[in-house]
Symmetry: C2
């Protein structure tokens, strides 16, 4: 084949267009050897019908698979948009330099032998990256599969995989080529089209975030599938994902969620995988629909490819068989959907149109003998029903029914795209008559599943996306009343003094500067001062021994609670002095708050991401039940509210057994102020507010620890 010389009309407008919409491709390291990557890529481009020009580069060959080969890229008479590089790693920096000279704008490096191989590989990678930067080349890979664009205008199969998808509107990006390939294969098996595909291996330049941003801007991509084992630049990712999910759904799976899984992940890629919750939190914060079962993700994608999103959680079921409706109901309800009763108007219509043995309710059972017109009427009724947002259909192909007619009616209603429809289509596909029924449904864009639970999960996922899209997470509050100057002084001072942990008085001052309420306190140097402080604060008080070198106060007898008068204060301090021999022992005097609820909050830092803010119930709840929740800072008011609502023992906050509930608004305020503090001062690497006591409508921090870096 001679290279085509007529380029597609559309000029590249986005930097990554050179990668995803190349008008010409050089394969540097093309080979005549069957099954070698340098051969398979040429074969795939040809087989898939790439519309641009193919330039195999090989100094020893005249042609590869019938396509004229060139000794070097400089011999190619045309411009080259994209180059595949399949040469040993040590030659790659030089090749990239050449690519720059030739004016190539995008390079897919399929070769391995870089950052995944340790020091030497990293050095090579840095070397070619520098060359790429010099010439403004975007690098995809190295150690990667490549990209695929099914757009009939390009048909760019720049990959050595072996699945040839039909065009569609789902785009895939996967860290692992192995997983990416089987997701692509699975969409293919499910007869779902694909738009674009990208698996970027070491991802030294073009990142998953870049690809998602590109897919986000691509009008033909209706939904994005993401597989990852960790995120190397979480902030960049969040920035991008937040914007993209406003426009279209991202369905994502992150593996390595168990300790062992993370170990397996770390051993096969250089990514930042680890057993942490931050990826899940990022998905939540940015509105990504997350999965931990890749089969479910692929199945669900079928519904995302064709269906509109439901406005709410109210589903109507149409069925022509009993049991599967029971199974579907279980799963739909588990996914947060509800089955409202039908309106009188709807029931009256159905009374007229259904068979006498039909069951008129939700589910509507049109019974096995119900035909196209019965399904149609049930669908019409649900489409018109104010109180229904989506439709679930069980369709078993009873032998005595004109199943094609049923299918045509489902398609007709589905194509109105008024409300989402999913169909559990139970049939025997080895029978020709039902194959035809399946074809009608499929070509009509009805997402068909073989199991009621699977179909119900798909509808559940559509609902999850619509819910996440309408969740007004808002912006973090700005809090004009915080004293940032004072906080800065405290932190700088501690830093200057070389302290890792702030002293108790500084901790309380810092919290107070940010409007976080702390129990009244005084740091006393001696007994007299302590008694004075206690009188001022009001008995009973608690006294804590305070010194640079005291970390676990209660373990060392450094805490005395419920001191009711001067004598008790004196005796407590004397005991402390006797038992604790540290220099400069001082005494923190605080109001003793008996009763009340113990809460905790805290902050930890995740490299590359920022702070995670934690909230939970204190004491045994955190110790035994691990009843805490996390959000990524900055935490908005809505998120703080969600934190209170999402701990397991949330009911305790409202009061049980006749107790009064706590002042939740105060807690919501504290969480946001803590978030503001650590967002303003990234130097804070750890913070524990433990306990926070909620008592009589008041909420105070009673003990706290702050670590800076």
């Amino acid at each position: 084949m001679e290279p085509a010389t007529i380029f597609p009309v559309v000029k590249a407008v986005h930097e990554l267009d050179y990668l995803f919409k190349p008008r010409s491709i050089a394969i540097i390291g093309a080979s005549q050897k069957e099954l070698s990557i340098g051969n398979v890529i040429v074969k795939n481009l040809l087989h898939y019908g790439y519309t641009g020009s193919i330039y195999p580069i090989n100094p020893k060959m005249d042609e590869i698979r019938g396509v004229k080969a060139y000794a070097t890229i400089f011999d190619v008479p045309d411009e080259i948009d994209l180059a595949h590089v399949i040469v040993p790693s040590k030659f790659v920096p030089g090749v990239i330099e050449d690519c720059g000279k030739k004016g190539i704008r995008a390079v897919i490096i399929n070769s391995a032998g870089f950052s995944e191989m340790g020091e030497e590989g990293i050095a090579l990678q840095n070397e070619f990256l520098a060359n790429a930067k010099k010439y403004g080349i975007r690098i995809f890979g190295p150690n990667c599969q490549g990209i695929i664009n099914t757009d009939p205008e390009y048909k760019a199969y720049c990959d050595f995989t072996f699945t040839f998808p039909k065009p569609g509107n789902i785009s895939i990006v996967a860290l692992s080529g192995g997983v990416g390939a089987f997701i692509m294969q699975s969409l293919f098996d499910l007869d779902i089209g694909m738009r674009m595909y990208a698996s970027n291996g070491n991802a030294c330049d073009v990142s998953i975030s870049d690809v998602i941003k590109y897919y986000g801007a691509d009008d033909e991509t209706k939904a994005i599938i993401l597989y990852t084992e960790g995120l190397s630049n979480p902030n960049e990712f969040m920035e991008v994902a937040k914007e993209v999910t406003k426009k279209k759904p991202i369905l994502a799976m992150k593996s390595g969620r168990t300790e062992e899984g993370a170990k397996a992940a770390a051993s096969h890629t250089g990514s930042l995988a680890g057993v942490d919750i931050s990826t899940e939190l990022i998905f939540e914060k940015t509105g990504i629909v997350s999965f931990n079962n890749e089969e479910e993700l692929c199945q669900v994608a079928m519904a995302f490819a064709t269906q509109p999103f439901p406005r709410g959680n109210r589903v109507g079921i149409i069925t022509n068989t009993g049991g599967p409706a029971v199974i579907a109901t279980d799963e739909l309800v588990s996914a947060g959907l509800v089955l409202p009763a039908l309106s009188e108007k709807a029931k009256n219509i159905l009374q007229e149109t259904m068979l006498p043995e039909a069951s008129i309710g939700n589910p509507i059972d049109v019974v096995a003998t119900g035909g196209g017109k019965h399904f149609r009427s049930a669908m019409d009724v649900l489409m018109d029903e104010e109180g229904i947002d989506s439709i679930y259909i069980n369709f078993v192909t009873a032998p005595f029914t004109d199943t094609d007619e049923v299918a045509r009616n489902i398609v007709a209603v589905s194509q109105l795209r008024k409300k989402p429809i999913v169909c559990n289509f139970m049939t025997n596909m080895s029978l020709d008559r039902f194959k035809e029924t399946a074809r009608i449904l499929k070509e009509g864009g009805v997402p068909c599943y073989s199991f009621p639970t699977t179909a119900a999960k798909a509808l559940g996922a559509l609902y999850r996306y619509s819910k996440t899209r309408s969740r007004a997470i808002g912006e973090a509050q700005d809090f004009n009343d915080v004293d940032k100057k004072k906080a800065e002084v405290i932190i700088k001072q501690a830093k200057r003094e070389g302290k890792q942990f702030l002293s108790a008085d500084r901790v309380y001052e810092l919290l107070a500067a940010y409007g976080v309420p702390v129990a009244n306190w005084w740091l006393a140097n001696d007994v007299h001062e302590a008694i004075n402080a206690a009188e001022g604060i009001g008995y009973p008080v608690v006294i804590k021994g305070e010194s640079e070198s005291l970390i676990h106060k209660s373990d060392m007898g450094g805490v005395a609670i419920n001191l009711k008068n001067a004598d008790e204060v004196r005796s407590a301090i004397e005991k402390m002095k006797a038992s604790i021999s540290v220099p400069n022992l001082r005494f923190l005097v605080q109001k003793f708050l008996a009763g009340g609820k113990e809460l905790i909050s805290g902050v930890s830092i995740k490299p590359g991401l920022g702070h995670l803010v934690m909230f939970g119930l204190g004491g045994i709840y955190v110790e035994v039940l691990k009843d805490v929740v996390f959000k990524i800072a900055p935490v908005t008011e809505l998120e703080a509210r969600e934190m209170l609502a999402s701990i397991k023992a949330t009911k305790l906050l409202d009061g049980v057994r006749g107790e009064k509930g706590i002042n939740k608004e105060s807690v919501i305020d504290i969480i946001q102020r803590v978030s503001k503090l650590v967002t303003d001062f990234p130097q804070i690497v750890e913070m524990d507010l433990n306990p926070i006591i909620a008592i009589n409508d008041m909420v105070y921090v009673v003990d706290a620890r702050i670590k800076i870096d």
Copy 2:
């Protein structure tokens, strides 16, 4: 076709052999009308190649689908083992009478119009049942699909469904024909053979338990799939299931697990469905492997059809691609499996046999270029490895590999049946070369999945069964020290007095008779008696007002705690007398146990099943966190032990924050004694021991309520 006159050699030995292994079948109500049930059944028997004689019965026809028809069963010249009845319900009692006279031993009533239709239908059902009993006929149905036996000796397709399974070793029993049919279809689609099938509709005679017992005794059935929406005779079911699961696995799904699902179930069947936990508890007690996703159940069945069961939870992974191993690891670990490190011996062998770029560990990554001999060596090593019980394989068909050779090696090792193997086989089946690879694996009996999570779930399920089979649940203890006589007197007396709730003194006496420790108590008639009792018991005490009409004591000021001396006792009693105006107010004096842990236990009754025994942590744990667990009585020691271990806050029982743990053995003893008490006295319909206080190594019931019927 002329009816065959040569019967199979094997004579029926089991009553249900007439149903599942009929040598001749009459279709009463056979019809020439295409798609009618009376026609489809004849068609299916012919199509599937039924080896016995077919006798269509229709007074107006000479033949049905080429088979000679008879006017009545009495005109049939042969014996008839099984009859299908497809006549209007009102004629059924008469038909059954005729069947009896003809000597037919099993009847499948496909007709509807019986118990599912209310009063009139129930009457009809009772009528034909009486006739059946008279003649010793077993009735299958009515309102049902029927049975299928794929055994080549019978090929009995006595059903109007449209899936024609190949012979295999999985047998299915389903309450819902719709669900049964799609499970059968799903096994067919997965190319898993099936042994027998039964969907018994109203199940007026042959029950799910009967069928499971039959499958249990059938040597060719290796695993049983059960779908139900509830159990009409739970005790019979438990009896059967307990025995069968010792021999072979039962994989079960019960739908109607949400309130809405149960409503949907109730509307389409006359079963005992309800939102309850008892079916799950029955599954647990009898060793059934339960699922709540029918797609997963069917997928998993593939592994049960061919693989041995693992001896333990230690899995070795072999992979030729990274990402899918990460995903698999996550799921395997979630399922309770572990990935042990390999022995030095194993690693030494692999060092020799693997490619240099392979990763030697667990997972063993043979890398994409690894071929048959690399897979083989990895498998051999894991098969020989002491510390490995099962093998998980990721096999992606890399284009540069002889995938058939890999497949042949997997098959060779798998056929040793030494340890179970599951395979995640990632390929493109539209390519002929990989179709052949798939064929080799499939015909070799290797369970192949398209997703790593799905394959991992299958291995997880094999492990669940092996774990459940080796769980020595034991028998409930007999407790020779209980005073059954005394308990009987107390209960009879209360019954005679027409009481629903036992009085406090009787409650404590009853518990004491069964060795359940209760806090020291005295029921006093007046202040003096109360003070005497308090002195005897020892201060501090708690006093509770006691009268027939007092149920919620604390709400009415009927409880005074922590009374430290006679004065406090006097004043408390005077207050009670003043505030509570009920006749015969008496005063229960008990030791006041401050501190300690509040536990609760209780009992409720489930009609048809017996008692459920509950255990949990008291107070807010039960109120807010619902941290309780249930078991079906009689509870064995192992089960009682599991109850303590399976509450969420189980760590609290061991003591946290330096506290001492509670005396668990005492609690385990109490649970078993409670179980023994209600098992001995089914008249007890409700019991609450709330709280039970565990303090200083002692455990006492402090308050209790017992309701009898």
